[in-house]
Symmetry: C2
Subunit: 250 residues, 2 copies
DNA sequence: GAACTATGTGTCAAACAGACACAATAATAA
DNA sequence: TTATTATTGTGTCTGTTTGACACATAGTTC
């Protein structure tokens, strides 16, 4: 999906689209930003098309900024979806075309291969806004069974699979947590992505051993019981860990 | 590049291509299969276009089989290259078009985004064969500085980077070595991909701990000095390791 | 103020990684 | 035929990391 009434199919390359799985973390749950399509009320991933002079990364940035209001989002290509039948069951979009809501909608009838991006964002900073084809932009639990169009459910699952794998050799959190956070919050994030529980004490030891955290002299007040210390990421080391990887067998 | 004189641009989707980085291992060196273009004598990766009813994976399989003679090759998408300028410096292909060697060559003047695949093959089983646009198909050392067209040198480097990363959480070798191989050969493969030396004894201990090897009651004769034992991969465990990963931090 | 619950810190044994020693083998040189 | 030599097979030692678990501490709840 792309922005507003200014959509002109002439601006874009045929057959190529992109879809963004935008992950956020809130209340101990992993969320995905979704759009609800006008008329059919089915759900879709934020997506768009490739401008004639754009890189895919630029196009994804454009989409991400339009839907979240944020610039400089952490994102990564993770897979191209090219099944020729992936857009055939496209009842939702066909219905939309039939409404005649836009003169250029026949563009959507073509076959598209879609490049999947996943993005990690700070939930609290996102201002979700729908695009021309949708009436609502909202967070959904990553596991929630909702009527997604096309192969978008599959795209979400693949993104999560890749994210999980990356967790074992790359740090994660800078893009998903507020600036200051507690160790239990960071642990909950890891547990949520991995889908299993971790030992509190061993988790802390390991995270600290990566040297990517700065412990602050502040505690998080207001919660129940003993107030935990706040941490922030050490950006220099975090960046280094992103480039070089965390451990690995060889 | 695609096969023979039967090329018809109508069979393919506009703007989408794929390039294959085909890795082989021979004489302790990591090789890449290349094509030498007719007329300009520059080098290119084996590649092709996406048929109107094909998945990208099918298209890659087609290309791989045409260039190597092999079916069932291990391969993986690793990145999409979408810089709008990536085909602008396309002197080689422009020259080819100017020869009028094929009526349909103006197809190549369009902008293409290319999906990169890497493939791992048994060097000894490959029968390299050029395509319609090239006069030679040959192995090159992965580090060799040769005049590659477009961004193909960059594509190779990226493929190697991804391969290296995968080495730390996935087994490699089944697709690159003959059925029976020695421990020193396997080690040399790892060292070549990683670009650094490993301790012989620690390497063996680690590989055996993965349980993906069957030690045979045979030794490799003919070499100099003490003859090493032969091993084969335990396919069941190898497959399991591919799916589940080898170690990892979490 | 007592009870409670989550956090901060520490211990222990088992598994693992990195560095290195020595014996065995088969081709080569004498 | 025998000694030499390069390579392979196997093992040890030490320091580090991991996984399982115990106890003290701080702030809320009753």
């Amino acid at each position: 999906m792309t922005d507003s009434g200014t959509f002109k199919s002439d601006d874009f390359l045929d057959h190529i689209s992109l879809d963004c799985v935008i992950f956020g973390f809130h209340n101990g749950e992993l969320k995905v930003l979704t759009l609800r399509l006008k008329y059919t009320k089915e759900f879709a991933l934020p997506g768009g098309f490739l401008g004639k002079e754009e890189t895919l990364e630029d196009a994804a940035k454009r989409v991400l900024q339009e839907r979240t209001g944020l610039k400089d989002i952490f994102m990564k290509q993770f897979k191209v979806f090219s099944d020729p039948d992936r857009s055939k069951t496209n009842v939702a979009i066909q219905d939309l075309i039939n409404t005649g809501a836009h003169p250029d909608l026949h563009f959507f009838e073509k076959r598209f291969i879609s490049v999947g991006f996943y993005a990690l964002v700070d939930f609290t900073k996102v201002k979700p806004s729908p695009d021309f084809f949708s009436d609502k932009c909202e967070w959904k639990n990553v596991n929630e069974q909702a009527p997604y169009i096309l192969d978008h459910k599959k795209i979400i699952e693949k993104a999560l699979e890749v994210l999980r794998r990356q967790l074992s050799y790359q740090p994660i959190g800078y893009n998903l947590l507020p600036e200051k956070f507690t160790m239990p919050e960071l642990q909950k994030l890891y547990e949520t992505i991995l889908g299993r529980e971790l030992d509190r004490r061993n988790f802390q030891r390991k995270m600290l051993s990566y040297k990517i955290l700065n412990k602050l002299d502040e505690r998080k007040k207001g919660g129940a019981y003993k107030s935990p210390f706040l941490y922030e990421f050490n950006l220099e080391n975090y960046q280094k860990a992103l480039n070089e990887g965390l451990s690995g067998s060889f």
